[in-house]
Symmetry: C2
């Protein structure tokens, strides 16, 4: 049974009725199961996590895009998070028995229907990107909703689906298949945020650090401690153990210790099984063969 | 979808045709999937791992018991491993969406049918045990095939199913539901097996150590190193981290270090996720909510 995980982000984080109306479209689509919904009023944004068969996920995305276009007016939208559309981004992640190539194909079918049925143009990003400069979501979104009409007229920035003009109220959407993202934070026993910021700059790809690590340093005001907050965009490339042990070593420079960590949202089991393998020094470990749950979801391999 | 893991042990580890004929009964039962088969000629024993819906697993066990009784003659069986029957033991382990109580009920239905349809008596053991002294498989099996006719006549050792006499050639079987067992070995950088033996005696339940840990010390002759070999009969009670860190601390006494470890056969993801949680100092981690695969097999919990 093929399953895709889909994590659409909508530019509404305050009006619960509108959020519910959008999510109801996924809940009401046979073959889709909603796993998580997080909304943030500062960001004025909500993030839905659901899974389903590819066709069901496609159907749900088209219906949610229509509903979001109906309920959200980007001309009056304000929020701390960068955004360019009512449906800001729709990532598809291979979850079970499905290849990245199939998720790329799904993203293109969905983008075409969202253009034809909802009139919203889109960029294909990450593994679906049609050119290297569109892989990174931040590059696609640069200029945000307000700057998009002008950006779409630039030679390199015609949408992948739709014309060189945004939907008047719903803007434009980024749609693409990507590897599962692991959001992982490490907490330090210091109230000095500059330690976390320096570590973040050192370990992230943009600072010459780990290729698949994005990181910022911030302060948890309620606990008066500093935190290195990360997105690992490919945990097989840059693992949790790599960033954890690097942070441990770097923090030592200031006599600072790791007091805890956090996994935010959902993650694939493999990201943590790799950690157990490292710390236990497991020899010859093969998760797909030895972990019962992989056999239960049809991803197990036999000896 | 309810799934049970079943790991029957048969007293045949040399004749591949006989082994294949027995395993074919599980492979040919609709609703059953064979995951693993290991045979050992020194032990003269094979261990099959398969999963399936409860009714399918019951059917496969009855068919395999009949086939084993037909092909294996315990009167001439010799092997290093203790044994009392052609089908020596049939453990049922809850795998997906099923309770221990349901597995206990399944073990009793299976035991009744194996008596009625194959004429093989049985003891109920582990969570299915009808009295405390039958929980431990080793206690049920003490006396082995040769001593069973006399043992069954003792007041306390009437079979749970069947009369006070073994099947003439197939002996008697232990049948029961149990928690998933984790077979975990730790390798030491010493060729002195006495270090491993001393550590094993210290950490195992029978030596006053961890309640759910069975352990022996042995030497890996091919690598010339000592190993602590363990069965964790309840990894939620006695975790991998507990035994690993205890062995690390005890080995230090002789200046010995851990150089590796091994997970033998299949294990539930949770046994290793718990290790990642410990070493990463994860705060507020909830595997059932945060690990994608639990959602895919219907064991996820939402916030």
């Amino acid at each position: 049974m093929k399953l895709v995980e889909c994590i659409p982000n909508f530019s509404e984080g305050r009006d619960q009725e509108k959020i519910n109306a959008i999510v109801a479209e996924a809940q009401g689509t046979p073959g889709c199961t909603v796993l998580d919904l997080q909304s943030d009023s500062t960001h004025n944004r909500c993030v839905l996590t659901f899974v389903g068969a590819p066709d069901a996920v496609e159907e749900a995305c088209v219906k949610m895009a229509k509903k979001a276009a109906e309920l959200i007016d980007m001309r009056t939208h304000q929020g701390a998070h960068p955004r360019m559309g009512a449906v800001d981004v729709i990532p598809f992640v291979p979850a079970m028995d499905i290849s990245m190539e199939e998720c790329v194909a799904l993203s293109k079918r969905t983008a075409e229907r969202i253009w034809k049925e909802a009139g919203i143009p889109s960029f294909l990003y990450e593994d679906s990107a049609t050119r290297p400069e569109r892989r990174n979501l931040a590059d696609c979104r640069r200029g945000e909703f307000e700057g998009m009409p002008e950006k779409l007229l630039q030679e390199d920035w015609a949408p992948d689906y739709g014309e060189r003009a945004i939907h008047p109220t719903a803007g434009i959407t980024a749609i693409g298949a990507r590897f599962p993202l692991v959001a992982f934070n490490v907490n330090l026993d210091t109230d000095d945020v500059s330690v976390a910021k320096t570590i973040a700059r050192t370990i992230r790809a943009s600072g010459g650090g780990f290729r698949s690590c994005k990181a910022i340093g911030l302060k948890l005001e309620d606990r008066n401690i500093a935190q290195v907050s990360m997105n690992l965009v490919n945990y097989e490339d840059t693992s949790i153990v790599m960033v954890f042990e690097m942070i441990r070593a770097l923090a030592e420079r200031w006599g600072v210790r790791i007091i805890g960590s956090e996994l935010v949202g959902l993650a694939p089991a493999k990201a943590l099984l790799d950690c157990a393998e490292y710390y236990l020094k497991l020899e010859g470990f093969d998760a797909r063969r030895q972990i019962m749950e992989y056999h239960l979801i049809g991803l197990g391999t036999e000896e």
